[in-house]
Structures are given as C-alpha cells and as structure tokens.
C-alpha cells in the first residue's frame, strides 16, 4: 500500500520525456537566466515562442500546461497591482491616499508578471515530463561538483533518498494517527479554529515521536553496519549525456546568449 505521490508527473514518451533529466534541469536554469536578462518586448516574444516549442515537444495538452497560471491568477493580480500602485514615480497618472498609479509602475508590473509566468510554465513543463525520482537524481548529479568545496553532497544525497523512502510510510502513519485521535474525540474537521488548534497536539506529537523512533532505528542499523557518514563519495549509475542532451543544452545556451547580447 506504500505509494509515493507522483506530484504533477504525467507519464509519456515525447522527446522531452526522453531527454536526460539533468539536461532538462540545466536547460531550466539557463532559461531562468534568460528570463532574468529579458527586458524588451522582442526578448519576451522570443521566450514565449520558445516555451511554445517546448510545449509542442512535450506532447502535453495545452490546457494542462498552463493550468498553474489559471490557478494563481489572483497572485499575479496582486503582484501587478502592488507594482503598479506603489511605484514611486515623478509624474504619476493618478494618485489617491498612499496609492499612485504610474507609467513606470505599470511597465514594472507587467515585467514582473511576465517573467514569473514564463518561469512557472517552464518549471511546470519540467515536472510534468520528469518523475520526481528522476528530478532528485538529476539534482544529485548537478550538485556533485560541490563536494570539492567541502559541501558533504553524500550526506545530502543520503538525506534526500531516505526522506523519499519515508514519505509514503509517514503519510500512512499520519492518517492512522488522525483516525485514532478522531475516535478518541479530537475534532480535526471542526470549523472552529480553537478546536482545530487544540487537535494539533494530539496529532503532531505522536507523528514526530514515531518518525524520530524510525530515524533512531535506522541510524542504529546503519552504524551497526559501519556507516559513519563521512568519506564516501557520491556514486551512482553514470548516465552519459547523449547527442540530443548536448544539443538541447546548447540550444538553450544559444537562446540565452541571444537574449543577453542582442535583445
């Protein structure tokens, strides 16, 4: 019954699905740089076109790909208004109390919203075409060089893989404890905030006590087998980049370069 939640991942066989997760991750980071560098309408147009191409390559339905935008439109509205109304400019179009609507403010707001929207859609494409496990593995490969500046990447990798292993186990346990305390009279689904706050302790304390017990047992078992948590370099299946992975990263880099140098 132990299932790991799949997040937003939608299994498929498209070009983007088959691309090396590390290439996708590096691509996303380059894209981030390009987005931050973008400032002109031409630059944004290029990026939006590129996102469109990615979408086509991912084989995801359009509706699904822009779903995160539809869910967060309120957030965008707030950011836009914040920028538009609070930007202190010399000649505002309209002022009232502490608000002042200005041209620069409007442009600034549009800028911020566009950037965020592009980043969100790009990130969404990545996590829809890559399973959570693949992404964490790609992160591990990406961070590998950090061990040369004394960041214990091996311990971080250990923490991440053990944490993933514990997600379904603890989810089931939380559910069980919630049910046990409900029978004993805790009111988790009460509409009164007081009841809900009062039912926090009976849920959270047992959850932590049991989770720490598991951590304790696992640590003992690992130490008994001689693991000390140092000196072990990250190892794992070396997946070599293929031509298409290099190609993908190069194209991303080219777009970023055009963005910074030309537009």
């Amino acid at each position: 019954m132990s299932r790991i939640p799949a997040g937003m991942y939608i299994p498929g066989k498209s070009f983007l699905h088959r691309l090396d997760p590390l290439a996708k991750l590096i691509g996303l980071i380059i894209l981030l740089a390009a987005v931050i560098a973008a400032s002109s309408p031409g630059g944004y147009l290029l990026l939006i076109l590129f996102i469109g191409v990615l979408l086509a390559l991912s084989g995801l339905p359009f509706k699904l790909a822009i779903a995160p935008l539809r869910r967060t439109y309120l957030f965008f509205a707030v950011i836009f208004l914040m920028n538009a109304l609070f930007f202190a400019d010399v000649d505002p179009l309209w002022t009232w109390w502490i608000f002042s609507l200005s041209r620069t403010g409007l442009i600034q707001g549009a800028n911020v919203v566009l950037r965020l929207a592009i980043i969100i859609v790009a990130g969404h494409i990545l996590i829809s075409t890559t399973s959570p496990m693949e992404i964490t593995a790609a992160f591990r490969r990406l961070l590998k060089p950090l061990q040369y500046i004394n960041i214990p990447v091996d311990i971080v990798a250990l923490i991440v893989s053990v944490a993933i292993h514990f997600i379904p186990v603890l989810a089931e346990e939380v559910e069980m404890i919630r049910k046990a305390q409900t029978v004993r009279g805790a009111r988790f689904d009460s509409t009164r905030l007081r009841d809900r706050a009062a039912s926090l302790l009976p849920l959270v304390i047992p959850v932590f006590v049991n989770a720490f017990k598991r951590a304790d047992e696992l640590a003992l078992a690992m130490e008994a087998r001689g693991y000390r948590g140092e000196g072990r370099r990250v190892s794992g299946p070396e997946i070599a980049f293929q031509a298409r992975d290099f190609g993908a990263v190069l194209i991303m880099a080219a777009i970023c370069a055009v963005q910074i140098l030309v537009l």
């Binding site: 069980m176 404890i177 305390q181 004993r184 009279g185 304390i205 006590v209 049991n210």
Partner: protein, 298 residues
Amino acid sequence: MPIVLEKASYTYAPGTPYEAAALCDIDLQIADGEFIGIMGHTGSGKSTLLQLIAGLITPSRGKVMIDGCDINARNYNRDVLRKKLSMIFQYPEYQLFETTVEKELAFSLKHSGLPGKEVKERVRRALEAVGFSYTRVRSLSPLGLSGGEKRKVAIACALVTEPKILLLDEPVAGLDPRGRKEFLEIITRRNKAGTTIIMVSHDADVLGNYAQRILVLNQGKLLLDGPAKRVFTDIEKLEALKLGVCRPRKLARRLKECGIPFPQDIAGYDEFIAAVVEVSKKGGMSHEPDTGRHVYSR
C-alpha cells in the same frame, strides 16, 4: 438492531489511477453484546469495514446505522457516536501524546461533559482494568514507559469512555503470549459486562476461542457469517481460501479421520474438551485403539 450495514460499499481514491474497491455491498446486522471476530486475507477489507462502522470513512454507497441512526446523515451528532464507540488500532501505543498517564486517559473524556470527579473515577477504573495501580502510574509520562506498558495505557484510553461498542483491529499483534492472554481476558470481561466487541485478527485460534460469531471477508465481500462453530465446520472451504483454521477444529477433524465419532462443530478449546468428555463417556474414544497413531503422523 444496534449496528446495521445496508449494502455498504467503499472505494479508496475514486476517480484516480489508484482507485481500489475495498468493500462491496456489505449487509450486516450486529446485536448488542455480541463478540464478533473478523477474518480474511490481507487486503480483504477488514480494516475498512471497522472504519466504516467507526464513522471514520463514509461509505461510497449504502448506509451504516447505529442504534437506528444513519451515522453519516447530515444532522447526526458525531459526539454521540464517539461516546458509545471506541476503537483500538494495530499499534495503539502510537497515539500517546500527553505529559502524564492521567491526562492521556482524560483526553478521551474531554468532550464527555462529565464532572471532574467522575472523570477521575473513570480513569482509575480503566487503569485498574488493565492491571495498573492508579496511584503509581497516574503521574508518569506515557511516552517514557516500556512498549508493553504503553500498549496497556492505550488500551485503557479506549476503555475509559466505557463504550457500548469496542472495535479492535489486530490488537494482539506484537504482544507476547502472556500479554496476549491478559488482553483477551480484559476484552472478554468487557464483553460479559455487555459491551459489543468486533475484533479483526489473523489468528484463527484467537477468534475460535473467544468470538461467538465469525465473519469471513474475501476480496471486499462478506463470504461467511455465522456462529464460530458453524463457520469452522466448513473447514474445507476455509482451507481452499488459504485461511487459517483454529487448532481445536483441526484436532477434531483428525480424531474423526481416526474413526472416532467426534463432533465437528468445534471452535474453542473449551468446546473441544467438553466434546472429548462427552465422547469418552459414551466410550467412543476407546474403540479402534490402533489407529491412534494417525493422529500424530500427519
């Protein structure tokens, strides 16, 4: 009828790829004071059935009625249900959280509206029912106790509300033989005092010896339902389903195979002994003595 299920079904995660039909059209009636055992393979829906009765999940179809009220009706007051029904989960000690044993038990009575003195009295009674001395344990931290002691405190938490219905989901798992026996004695005493007991167990021996009526679940359906003796009579069917059979019943079959006219409606050891006495009085045990070796050779 105090507990009635009408065509109750339950599906986990409907409409997702993980959809799992756990229970299908369960019809069930349970009278006050019964001691019911539920058996079935893992994944057959035993825990789901208990949770339906406890009102922890709402049936996808059908109804769950307790004392004539649909417990999932909009206007049903859940506090009423919480007062008359308790449940002990597989590892009940996982639910402990308070700073003292006394507070831990009193938590279960928080919404009961009982006066403080009555609460104290009930806590004392529940602790003594599981074999603790009230004055010694009341101010200890439940989290600092040993595993077996924690289990007892958790059981006391379920008993402290003095429920009319007690649901048990594999309560003896992980207990040593002595703890197991103590626990089952506590439960039997409750049952004698009028509490309805519904107990899920993988151990056919436990069910055969303690339950009066047995339900067998298979793939979400109620396959068998009847007095323990009768359910175990059909030993071939149970074995075909790879379900355990209690030892007294197996012994009775071997005796019969040896040619002794031994009754086959046996579930517990007490019944077995009574039958032995009965049969030997009639002199049935003494004929054909040489086949006795088959009893041991299987």
